[in-house]
């Protein structure tokens, strides 16, 4: 123990000497001292070199207090000079908010930066629990980092869109940490199988949703049963609109079922396929609808009509492509056919109104386009056959003429030899 204390005193002495040197050169004595130390006491100085606050001209004293101009550690880290030491977890949100809730200060650096993070945080589950004394919940530094805070757009930031799910998962996938909260710990695992993660990570679409998109960031709160359709609808507005007007809306509300996630799931939103719709085994409609009810009939009808349109469109395209491979110019018909594909997409969207009449309008339009394209393809193939027959006739006539000419030449030459 005595040995350890001696070592710390020696280290502090070394730091003081460094601080003295720093004072002579106009440097921050916190950085000079801690930079000369080892282990966890030195870590902040190294990490802080890349911190956005350092880049913007802030230093240790702005959070920890003290006097960075004093050479003596006893003075520079004295309570009298406002030194706070290690910040208590419960005090962190307020400490950050001293600057981040000050619009005059923050907008000097970024006019678009919001200043309501603390207000938001206080409404979140994290904020409310912290206020209640639970220090295990996340606060500012758990997500943004402590001494190595970077801008959100910096790929190394833990809250960069690509890294945010992993950052949330540091706590939410840790079953020990989450013990006692009564929520699952498989969200991250499921999310990484979702179309949203695929869009975000593989396609690099930073607008694709991750945890904060649905749950909020500073005001993190789980969306309730009644609001989940609004959460999805913030991106999928057309679907939300259709669902809100659909018969399912009322039924789901009465049964206490959340909207979109009933069929699509929440964290593990898979790529939707037509296999989800209809009355065949594996269809989601069968989870609620039974033999003979109207909903089941509607599901069967809508699925069959969409299948019919897809099949007819494929058939028309196949004929047009065959004509195209034969050298026929069918590009206008192929362009027209793409209108039929749009009708199919529209019908699949309108399916979310769960109204067969509404959806069938698009199906009928698509079928008309497909039929016209098919007629154009068949006409092109007939034209191709006509050309080939014409060619055969022409070649026959040319062949006969050439043979006749050849015989005439032979006869002429035979006569001239004789003569």
């Amino acid at each position: 123990m005595t040995l350890a204390m001696t070592a710390i005193r020696l280290a502090l002495l070394g730091g003081a000497l460094a601080a003295g040197l720093a004072a002579q050169t106009g440097k921050d004595s916190c950085v000079a001292c801690h930079g000369a130390l080892e282990g966890s006491l030195a870590e902040p100085t190294a990490a802080f070199q890349h911190d956005v606050h350092k880049v913007r001209g802030f230093s240790c004293v702005d959070c920890h207090g003290g006097d960075p101009t004093a050479l003596d550690p006893e003075t520079s880290m004295s309570r009298a000079r406002g030194f706070k030491g290690k910040i208590d977890r419960r005090a962190i949100p307020e400490l950050c908010a001293r600057c981040h809730s000050d619009a005059t200060l923050i907008h000097r650096f970024n006019p678009r930066q919001r200043v309501d993070q603390l207000a938001q945080y206080r409404t979140s589950v994290h904020g409310r629990r912290l206020a209640a004394g639970d220090t295990r919940v996340a606060n500012c530094v758990d997500c943004h980092g402590v001494h190595d805070i970077r801008e959100v757009r910096d790929p190394l930031s833990p809250v960069h869109p690509l890294r945010l799910p992993e950052t949330c998962a540091r706590c939410h996938s840790d079953s020990d940490h989450m013990k006692g909260y009564g929520i699952a710990t498989d969200q991250f695992e499921k999310y990484r199988r979702s179309v949203h993660w695929e869009a975000l990570s593989r396609r690099g679409d930073f607008s694709a949703p991750s945890c904060a998109t649905c749950h909020g960031n500073h005001g993190a709160a789980p969306p309730g049963v009644a609001t989940v359709a609004h959460v999805c609808g913030s991106c999928h507005a057309v679907f939300e609109n259709l669902f809100t007007k659909s018969p399912h809306k009322k039924a789901f509300d009465e049964l206490g079922m959340p909207g979109c996630v009933v069929c699509h799931g929440n964290h593990e939103v898979a790529k939707p396929t037509m296999a989800l719709v209809g009355v065949q085994p594996g269809s989601l409609c069968l989870n609620c609808h039974v033999e003979g009810d109207k909903g089941r009939q509607a599901a069967e009808f809508m699925r069959s009509r969409i299948d019919e349109l897809a099949t007819v469109l494929d058939g028309s395209e196949e004929i047009l492509k065959r004509a195209e491979r034969s050298g026929m110019e069918v590009s206008p018909a192929l362009v027209e056919l793409s209108g039929g594909r749009e009708s199919l997409i529209r019908a699949k969207v309108e399916l979310h109104g769960f109204d067969p009449v509404l959806m069938d309008g698009s199906v009928k339009k698509g079928l008309e386009i497909a039929a016209a394209a098919r007629r154009a393809g068949e006409k092109a193939l007939q034209e191709r056959d006509f050309r080939r027959k014409g060619l055969l006739l022409s070649l026959t006539a040319i062949g006969v003429t050439m043979a006749g000419l050849w015989l005439a030449v032979r006869e002429l030459e035979r006569r001239s030899k004789k003569g």
Binding site: E329, S331, L395, I398, M402, L405, A408, E413, S416
Partner: protein, 352 residues
């Protein structure tokens, strides 16, 4: 009655003299005579081009907003428009092919020798005009491939030493390939080139008539001959019918593709290449490094091609002693090398 009308026409038009001329005109009939028919076939294809070109003019509109659509209208809506357009495109390619065969047959039979130097020169000029027809006509449908190939082609023109930048601007009607280029190429294709070609063609035919068809040196003056009319004319007619059969088959079974409309703001699609008859030159220029010693690679390439073309054109003047057997063999070897180079580099250019 018919005989009386015919007699009157013959009398007034002086057909008796023409008939008399045809009766006495002969052409050589030796083992290599078959190659001479390619000149006639090239002429036949030129006539086809003129006729189908005139028909296409009835519907074609040479503006960037209408060119593609007008060709699309021709091939989809106009009765037999597809046939006319396809025949025009295929005949253009066959014409380049038969003109090349005609040129090489004249080369190997040494038919360019004195006194037929001018016939050779006018023939080479006609070949260049045929290539210019192909190059200018390729852009007219204003489709993606044609647009970018014209960009590449006119860029090659820009690599000509000294006058390159002027030549590129002149061809494009500006700095870029635009509607001005289309209008300009249309003008070249339907007015300037046909006028020049007709004049040169008449001169070429007059020279052929003046000096007659050449016989190989080994045949001497004792080469067997056949009457021009009807024997040679009927044989030529068989060749023309053969060309018509090939042309019809290609046009009906492989209608010339229209592609997609050119979008000057779109990036160039992969695999852009010029027409097959420019492929060898295109591929060679691609192989030349950007810098060769102190020279710009492309400029050097174009310069070498230009000098080679001039050398080839002036063949009758520096090969005035091809009766020397050794020199004769050397020139034949050169001809074979040129054909092999064109064939191999065209194939490599197509696949590479």
């Amino acid at each position: 009655m018919f005989r009386r009308v015919l007699g009157w026409v013959s009398n007034r038009a002086g057909l008796d003299g023409a008939r008399d001329f045809l009766k006495h005109k002969t052409v050589p009939a030796h083992s290599g005579a078959l190659w001479y028919y390619f000149g006639g076939v090239t002429l036949f294809l030129f006539v086809i081009q003129v006729l189908t070109g005139m028909l296409l003019l009835l519907y074609y509109r040479p503006t960037p907003t209408e060119a593609f659509e007008s060709v699309q209208f021709i091939v989809t809506q106009v009765e037999f428009g597809w046939l006319i357009r396809s025949v025009h495109s295929w005949a253009a390619n066959l014409m380049v092919l038969t003109a090349l065969i005609h040129m090489f047959s004249v080369f190997f039979l040494k038919a360019y020798r004195k006194p037929r130097e001018l016939t050779w020169l006018s023939g080479i000029a006609l070949l260049f005009l045929t290539l210019a027809f192909g190059f200018s006509g390729y852009l007219l449908p204003w489709n993606t491939l044609a647009y970018f190939a014209t960009k590449v082609g006119t860029d090659m023109g820009g690599a000509v030493p000294v006058v390159g930048s002027f030549l590129r601007r002149f061809l494009r009607g500006g700095e870029e390939v635009t509607g001005a280029t289309l209008t300009r190429f249309f003008g070249f294709h339907v007015a300037v080139l046909p006028g020049l070609t007709t004049l040169l063609l008449l001169a070429h035919l007059a020279l052929v008539q003046k000096w007659g068809i050449s016989s190989p040196k080994r045949q001497g003056e004792s080469a067997p001959a056949m009457p021009f009319y009807p024997n040679f004319v009927l044989r030529e007619l068989i060749g023309w019918y053969g060309a018509l059969a090939v042309l019809g088959t290609l046009a009906a079974l492989f209608p010339w593709e229209l592609g997609t409309k050119a979008d000057p703001f779109a990036p160039a699609p992969a695999g852009i290449r010029p027409e097959w008859y420019f492929l060898a030159m295109f591929f060679t220029l691609k192989l030349i490094p950007s810098k060769v010693l102190v020279f710009d690679g492309e400029v050097l390439g174009v310069l070498v091609f230009g000098l080679a073309a001039v050398g080839w054109m002036l063949m009758p003047f520096w090969d005035n002693r091809s009766e020397n057997e050794r020199r004769h063999r050397m020139l034949t070897g050169l001809g074979i090398f040129v054909i092999a180079y064109l064939a191999v580099f065209s194939v490599l250019g197509y696949w590479g």
